[in-house]
């Protein structure tokens, strides 16, 4: 069963919490037994790493413990990943890919753009509120990321931002939003605003309702006054 088939708007939380990495690793592609084994090892490690990073944070999660949790040797980690930073980067890339798949599945193409964006971003908050250490690690880490890992990370973020941009585009097409709206810039700013709100969770203990209400106001600043001339 494909991961996307499991997803519904209301099921996003459950499935995102579930196992993004396994779902992605299960892409149906013909491959040799050796390649398959390698991919399974990789998926196991990513899964164990995500769990470890989410419970302990980046610094305290060791490669040795991650390998042990996956039932593998430390050597197996280094056969698949360059180092801990690379492993972490791949965990985050898988999260973004899964977030994108979940957002696509939770998008009702007939719904208004503003409502859809609020819905998608609220679902994302809901999924990650219980994994705030992972978010914290990811948000800290992206400022020290090296040039090698940057392209893969950016491509994964682009998937999510691109989906938000598509929603904005439909809003323009339907006449809900002004045709002069700068989609690229607006979708980037929306994403950055979404990320910045995690500070409220980390430092002020905000929950989902507060985030949703706040995001609704932020969306008003970003897009709602840009309605097409009535």
């Amino acid at each position: 069963m494909s991961s996307a088939a499991l997803l519904t708007a209301s099921g996003m939380k459950k499935t995102m919490k579930h196992s993004p990495i396994r779902a992605i690793a299960a892409a149906p592609q013909p491959m040799t037994r050796r390649a398959l084994a390698k991919q399974l090892t990789r998926a196991k490690l990513l899964e164990a790493a995500r769990e470890m990073f989410a419970t302990r944070g980046y610094e305290a999660a060791t490669v040795r413990d991650i390998a042990a949790a996956a039932g593998l040797s430390t050597g197996a980690v280094f056969a698949s990943f360059a180092d801990k930073a690379d492993l972490f980067n791949e965990v985050i890339v898988a999260e973004y890919e899964f977030m994108h798949a979940s957002m696509v599945a939770a998008t009702d193409e007939g719904a208004p753009a503003r409502e859809t964006l609020l819905h998608l971003l609220t679902l994302a908050y809901e999924s990650y509120l219980t994994q705030i250490r992972l978010v914290q690690a990811a948000l800290s880490f992206c400022w020290v990321r090296d040039l090698l890992s940057e392209p893969r990370h950016m491509a994964a973020v682009e998937l999510v931002r691109g989906h938000l941009a598509q929603v904005l585009q439909r809003g323009i097409d339907s006449g809900e939003l002004s045709p002069t709206l700068d989609i690229r810039l607006t979708s980037e700013m929306l994403w950055e605003t979404y990320l910045s709100n995690y500070r409220r969770v980390i430092f002020e203990g905000w929950g989902q309702e507060a985030l949703r209400a706040h995001m609704a106001n932020q969306l008003d600043v970003l897009i709602s006054e840009r309605k097409a001339a009535a």
Binding site: V144, T180, M189, S196, I202, V221
Partner: protein, 200 residues
């Protein structure tokens, strides 16, 4: 101030200056307490009697920069001319010019700011009340002059603007952006935000 207290203050200043320069030169990650102590000409032990660790040093380096930054912003503020949107652009450009003098330091600060322990003496990034107030004032003045629509949510406007402001620093590692590139992008972002609040 007693002799002992004076000595403590001097140590603090030397450690912060040494740390600030080291974080900029070799990066926050690679700088060690030992290296900071060595550059400051103090013992490792005396660094630890003043600060709990490297992150705390970074947070104090950053709070200490505020005084100089406000002095510069206050010098510029009375000379801002023109439409509210241009005033916003000017003040953000000044801000980038100041922080980009030590860009590695500032980027390290952003990264660390997602995991500060609750240290009451540190102003969390984006919660800088005085700077937010300056930006809100520009919008309010714009309202008074009929450039900005009445009744807009100035706080929310400033918050979204600052979110974009901070994340723009990512362009340094993504594409080697310089200060001109960041200011140019911010100009466009302020344009996007202003479209929503401009009086019509």
């Amino acid at each position: 101030m007693g002799v002992r207290e004076e000595g403590k203050q001097a140590t603090r200043q030397r450690v912060l200056a040494a740390a600030r320069d080291l974080f900029e030169e070799i990066g926050f990650e690679d700088a060690t307490i030992r290296m900071i102590a060595q550059r400051a000409g103090v013992s490792v032990g005396s660094v630890f009697t003043t600060f709990a660790g490297k992150t705390e040093i970074l947070s104090h380096v950053m709070s200490d920069r505020l005084e100089g930054m406000y002095a510069e912003l206050d010098r510029v503020a009375p000379h801002l001319r023109g439409h509210a949107v241009d005033r916003l652009r000017s003040i953000m450009a000044v801000h980038y010019s100041i922080e980009m003098r030590r860009q590695r330091l500032f980027v390290a600060y952003i990264g660390a700011s997602f995991s500060w322990s609750a240290d009451q003496t540190v102003i969390p990034l984006g919660q800088n009340v005085r700077f937010k107030g300056m930006l809100a004032d520009i919008l309010l003045e714009g309202m008074a002059r009929g450039e900005v629509r009445d009744g807009i949510d100035t706080d929310m406007f400033v918050e979204v603007l600052l979110a974009a402001y901070i994340w723009n620093y990512r362009l340094i590692s993504r594409e080697g952006a310089d200060v001109t590139r960041l200011i140019d992008l911010m100009d466009r972002q302020i344009g996007v935000l202003f479209d929503g609040v401009a009086a019509r």
